[in-house]
Amino acid sequence: MLALQILVDGFAISALYGLGAVGFTLIFGVSGVLNLAHGGIMVVAALVGWWVAAYHGFGPYGGAAAGVGAGIAAAFVTYFVVVRPIQRSRAIPKEEEEIFILTATLLWGIMLQVGLDYVFSDNPVTMQPLLPGVVQIAGVRTPTNEVLIAAVSWGIIGLLSLFVNRTRIGKQLLAASINPRALTLLGFELSQIYLVVWAIYGLLAGVAGVLLATFLGASADNSGALTASAFTIVILGGLGSVPGSLIAAYVVGYAETVTAYLIAPTLRPIPALVILIIVLYVRPQGILGRR
């Protein structure tokens, strides 16, 4: 019974982790950017969604749409204000670009966190579930909303996979992640591809943020932990590998759920970190990463 409960409960949270991490890994794969403001962007989506839904009478669906829109907007601001100036700066040597992007996105993430804290206070908010009620899954009472979260997450990941493998622009993304220079030589404009990637990233982070708000709740203070968990998952799965991130999301999601159920809820973050350290020492490229 307990095993079933863990299985069902862990599934939704893992799907949500996967959704958050896929965007993160996509950006890294295509443009080599590790965005440490990731958690901040998710929380922007969550809090804007909650605010529109609760105070402007648009209901949970209107709120969710507004939240996703806010996520996309925040991703574009991150790209245009923080990442692109560094990529284009001539004063920053190429080999140090990575460090500058890490530091700058970290600062930007802090600005988002403190700004949200100021505007919305740091009380955790919970959005009304998009689908109320409970269903029985294999004898386990599960909120319908959790089923919706798992379905939406997997639906979006499926669509993304179709987009990348079947459409022209998707194939360009794939090519950019393999060899950006060759793509440029073939006459494709990299900056347009980056725009598409950041839009997809904003969409994924926005949806993940909104779903998180309807499930576990969100507050400005969460943004650091959210970035850390996305980071853990992406490293575990292999930087730049989408399937790897999904596997890793389930490893982390279940490791946390098992720890929370069987040992103590307070130890929840520990197993992911320990797994991460072991993976980094034994197989630094992660489960499915390439070097």
Partner: protein, 308 residues
């Protein structure tokens, strides 16, 4: 590199700074002395980080892991009855040991992976401090029975001397053969190896030195405050502030880190009326500096003016 013509000017500036700094207790109020004391320890954190980042080209996202290990080892030993001076030294040694345990496997990793291991190390240390709250005081902090001194001026001088000595040693190291080799490694690891330098050995040396000063500073700060606290020594926000301080002051300058740290601490103090928003403003300023003056303030002042 300063030319010989500028040497007297630089010596004058140095003597002036030392004089102003050392005489502060005679003309500065106790409140500001306290703030400068903290700023000086923070300056040592920043300088030790710059040795690793600016020179060895390794981003250590976990400087607070080293600081925390130093601070908490010293605190635990002091609570066990070890004399204070021994605790400070042992805190520094504990930081080296902790740092090497972390670094020996981690330095095999390239690029962002090293940074990640150090980031995770901080998160684990934080979790352990909270889990073993009975011994460490958890989130509240661990009281220690000894303090450096109860006099504000004496505490200030301790911190000032510590900063000056650390700055001299770290700056000297950065200009020595070790600094040059590290810089070469940071810029082109393969070529440095091809020239016959043992890259890993030099990086480990840099890591150990960085750990030693971080640990000592952490231990001294613990005995200044009378508590080892997560909020002030281990939290990731402190790590971020150290990084901001170095990038703002100018990486690869060592002294820039100390300037940046002082700027941060003083600025936070001046912006206190803004309440929560002061972190926002400080981060925004640091972001603007990174975007427009990537060499930092000191790097910008010292850049070669000829040509271009």
């Amino acid at each position: 590199m300063p030319s010989t013509a500028r040497l007297p000017l630089i010596l004058l500036l140095l003597a002036g700074t030392l004089g102003v700094g050392a005489s502060a207790p005679w003309w500065l109020g106790a409140y500001w002395l306290g703030i400068f004391t903290i700023a000086y320890y923070f300056g040592v954190f920043a300088m030790s980080w710059d040795l690793l980042f600016g020179y060895a080209g390794e981003v250590n996202f976990g400087p607070t892991f080293l600081i925390g290990v130093g601070a908490y080892s010293a605190g635990l030993l002091d609570n066990a009855g070890v004399p204070m001076a021994a605790c400070i030294v042992l805190g520094g040694i504990a930081a080296i040991v902790g740092g090497l345990i972390l670094a020996i496997p981690a330095l095999r990793l390239r690029g962002p992976y090293f940074g990640l291991v150090t980031l995770v190390a901080v998160l684990l240390l934080l979790d352990f401090i909270v889990i073993f709250a009975a011994q460490t005081g958890g989130e509240i902090g661990m009281m220690v029975p000894d303090v450096l001194s109860i006099s504000t001026s004496v505490n200030y001088w301790y911190a000032f001397c510590f900063l000056v000595v650390s700055a001299a040693i770290l700056f000297g190291l950065s200009r020595s053969a070790l600094g040059l080799i590290l810089q070469a490694t940071g810029q082109d690891r393969i070529e440095a190896q091809a020239l016959g330098f043992n890259v890993t050995k030099h990086k480990l040396a840099a890591f150990a030195i960085s750990a030693l000063f971080s640990g000592l500073a952490g231990a001294m700060l613990t005995f200044y405050e009378g508590t080892a606290s997560v909020d002030q020594m281990v939290d990731l926000s402190i790590a971020v502030q150290i990084i901001i301080a170095v990038v703002f002051g100018g990486r690869r300058t060592i002294l820039g880190g100390a300037l940046g740290a002082m700027f941060l601490v003083l600025f936070n103090e001046l912006l206190r009326p803004l309440g929560q928003l002061n972190t926002f403003v400080v981060s925004a300023i640091a972001l603007v500096v990174i975007l427009f003056l990537p060499d930092g303030v000191l790097g910008w002042l010292l850049r070669p003016r000829t040509g271009v």
